[in-house]
Symmetry: C2
Subunit: 454 residues, 2 copies
């Protein structure tokens, strides 16, 4: 019996897409430079049982399965492979429970991050993880890539909010792991193993998420610096003095100019680095004053604290526009995601500038500075083979620099296809061997998202 | 070549203990009702290389290895098995680095929790996990059991503070996993897999720990309730209203009376439950006033807020004395560690009282109420076989009740020997199969802490 007929036995007709024009549109996430194959079929299940049927079918017929959320990923982890089943979880988008006493939400994987955020806000609760794509990305995708966002400097990443999971395994069996409780140490932490596993160990079909009480609205300041080194010194001082900003972002000169050009924001052209800090504390003005003083001491030429939420939004607008602005510089961009100890951030930024010069490229950097997580964005002309090659090489140099500074090749975007050669370098042979061993335990036939991670 | 001679080839003489009177004293942790075997030898390495030598020897000769920290554990996870090598990490007790900018500490596993806490305090930093045994327990043991403490309701458990690990594997190879950075998602989270693995996957020889800024000193209140149900209602209200207490503890009538008897603390005998709440916020008095009002609304007969740190310490003293006081009730105690969603806490406490009545036993309960983590403590006469049997059976009933309420058999003490039959019940067959698969990847010969967990 062929694949489509087998799938039809347990799925309604509208859950199975086979028209190549349609299935082809499911081939990619948002990453440049990553090959993608042609899927045999796209399935859109609505129930756990349907996902189990799909996985049983895939196991029987030995067909690879590529799980997908909203395909906003930046590492190619959701790219199709040839002849695969694309398993899109977007139709499983129910919020099952929001519980203010237990401070948890129970959701299906297709729930959009922003939809969940707003829903829990109505109960006075807060789901912190906020990737830039939060209006489009799904919770299942966030779990698959362990994604971060602007709030991580205070609230941590997705991994810290996943308490329990229901997972359909490669062979179709259903696993429930983790907990609904605040604490729990019963056996190995399988839940955490699935977070960031990029769909290579199982299909998440339900998640119990931890929530926080909703904090007061945040108030921001912007500080202009004559060098990235001075801005990084301010970052180190702010963190060493025990401040807890809800956001601490840095934009380099290239990013500032790109934003200025696109949005005429009037940031002074002499500014080499812009630091944005925000606090959602009970007295944000006092925190901003203290942090502003540290910026001035580190050499800031101008410090602009917002006095209202509207002013804050205006200040943060520059950061929000950065990637869009950089995408206008050339026909294509490659965004990197190297994270270094924050004490090495200045070296990372200087080194990235040197790499841009070496390869004669425009590389704009914005960074979750409080976490040492930089997003160097290489702007290049995709139609120019030489510039494309230089872009690719500069990307490798940036990752090498990150590792050399004691960092990681990916702070929050994941490995996918884009960085799989680099993962082995970061983990070392013993780490890779153990990771492959774990993969085999969960997916002995190797049908789950093959060709990703390793 | 025999075991001792092989060990001598890579260890100094004083690192090898063979006198049965001495090695026998390393047979147990602090758990009742757990069998322990007779170790062949106790080794006390001081370097990573020595640990590697021990594990290579154990692998060659197929000798089981039981890793030990300070042996303050409450599940028998560190109990010796017959003919094993007890590998005590207590001599590897260096604090290698404290870095206020990166907010990390790098330590060896034998560092005592309190020693680390005080050392980081000197840099204005805070290492939150604070098990009751914090003056004696070691960081390696804390990692092995993923231990908690009083602060978890605000700051979470040990797992949330372990960023990276160096681990000697069963065959003696050294694995470095995790990171020094604030964020990182490169591959499966091996670091988190080791946390709570009770020495069954590898020997942690170095840890990178996350630190927080040191918060202001906390201020506490005590509230007396006419029933545990009323106290639990207050707990639910406090958490549902978005408060962030740094401590939220509950003592039942039996605990209160035991403490009164031991320390003449003058808690009124009519009090059925005592709730203790503390805040380390900038304005703790305001938080205490709000929480005090919620307690009154829930039926508290008296609310006593502290006005100074000394008064706070006095209030918290009752909680700190609870286990010692309960240990005086009978010749032996068994302390349980069931964690339920906090919305089910009242049912857990009522159910535990019913179990005490059913078995005609004294069971005192203190609870990390904010986390729903109860420590029912069964007091019994170990010389009385019938009472001992009833104690053991009541313990099983308590775990069954916890699972029935959507909870876990262990919130922070771990599985060890004590709860291994129950672990399978909580995980289910699919979960157990995957966990065993992971164990085989790391320890194919099964020499690491055999007979624990599964």
């Amino acid at each position: 019996m062929d694949l489509i007929a087998r799938l039809r036995a347990g799925l309604p007709g509208e859950a199975i897409l086979t028209d190549p024009d349609v299935t082809g549109s499911y081939a990619n996430d948002m990453t440049s430079f990553c090959e993608a194959g042609t899927p045999a079929v796209v399935v859109l299940p609505r129930t756990v049982e349907q996902v189990q049927h799909i996985m049983r079918t895939a196991t029987e017929l030995r067909v690879p399965v590529v799980p997908q959320g909203a395909r906003t990923g930046l590492s190619g982890a959701a790219n199709a492979s040839d002849g695969c089943i694309v398993l899109s979880l977007v139709k499983m988008d129910r919020i099952i429970e929001i519980n203010p006493v237990d401070r948890i939400a129970v959701v299906e994987p297709g729930v959009i991050n922003a939809v969940l955020s707003r829903a829990v806000n109505e109960h006075g609760l807060y789901y912190p993880p906020d990737p830039s794509s939060w209006e489009e990305c799904s919770i299942g995708g966030n779990i698959g890539t362990a994604s971060g966002g602007l709030c991580c400097v205070k609230y941590g990443v997705t991994a810290e909010y996943v308490l329990g999971l229901d997972v359909v395994l490669a062979d179709g069996r259903l696993l429930t792991c983790g907990r609904r409780t605040a604490k729990g140490v019963a056996g190995y932490d399988l839940t955490r193993l699935f977070v960031g596993s990029e769909g290579s160990l199982g299909i998440v079909v339900r998640a119990v998420l931890a929530l926080k009480p909703e904090p007061p609205g945040q108030l921001a300041l912007a500080a202009e610096f004559p060098s990235t080194a001075a801005a990084c010194e301010a970052v180190c001082e702010i963190m060493a003095r025990g401040h807890a900003p809800s956001l601490l972002e840095l934009m380099d000169r290239t990013s500032i100019r790109a934003v200025n050009e696109m949005a005429q924001m009037g940031l002074p052209d002499s500014t080499e680095a812009l630091l944005l800090a925000a606090f959602d504390t009970p007295e944000p003005a006092a925190d901003l004053a203290a942090v502003g003083a540290l910026c001035t001491a580190a050499g800031a030429t101008e410090v602009v604290p917002a006095e209202t939420a509207a002013e804050s939004d205006l200040l943060l607008q520059a950061r929000r526009l950065t990637l869009t602005a950089l995408e206008r510089v050339k026909s294509a961009t490659m965004i990197d995601d190297v994270c270094v100890p924050r004490s090495r951030l200045a070296e990372m930024l200087d080194g990235t500038a040197a790499i841009a010069e070496k390869y004669d490229l425009t590389i704009g950097v914005c960074a979750h500075a409080g976490d040492g997580n930089t997003h160097p964005t290489v702007c290049f002309d995709a139609a120019d083979p030489d510039e494309s090659r230089r872009a690719r090489e500069s990307f490798d140099d940036i990752m090498a620099l990150g590792l050399q500074l004691g960092g990681t090749i990916t702070g929050e975007h994941g490995v996918g296809v884009l960085k799989k050669e680099w993962l082995a370098r970061e983990l070392g042979p013993v780490g890779v061997e153990l990771q492959r061993g774990i993969k085999e335990v969960f997916d002995p036939l190797g049908i789950l998202n093959p060709g990703k991670l390793f």
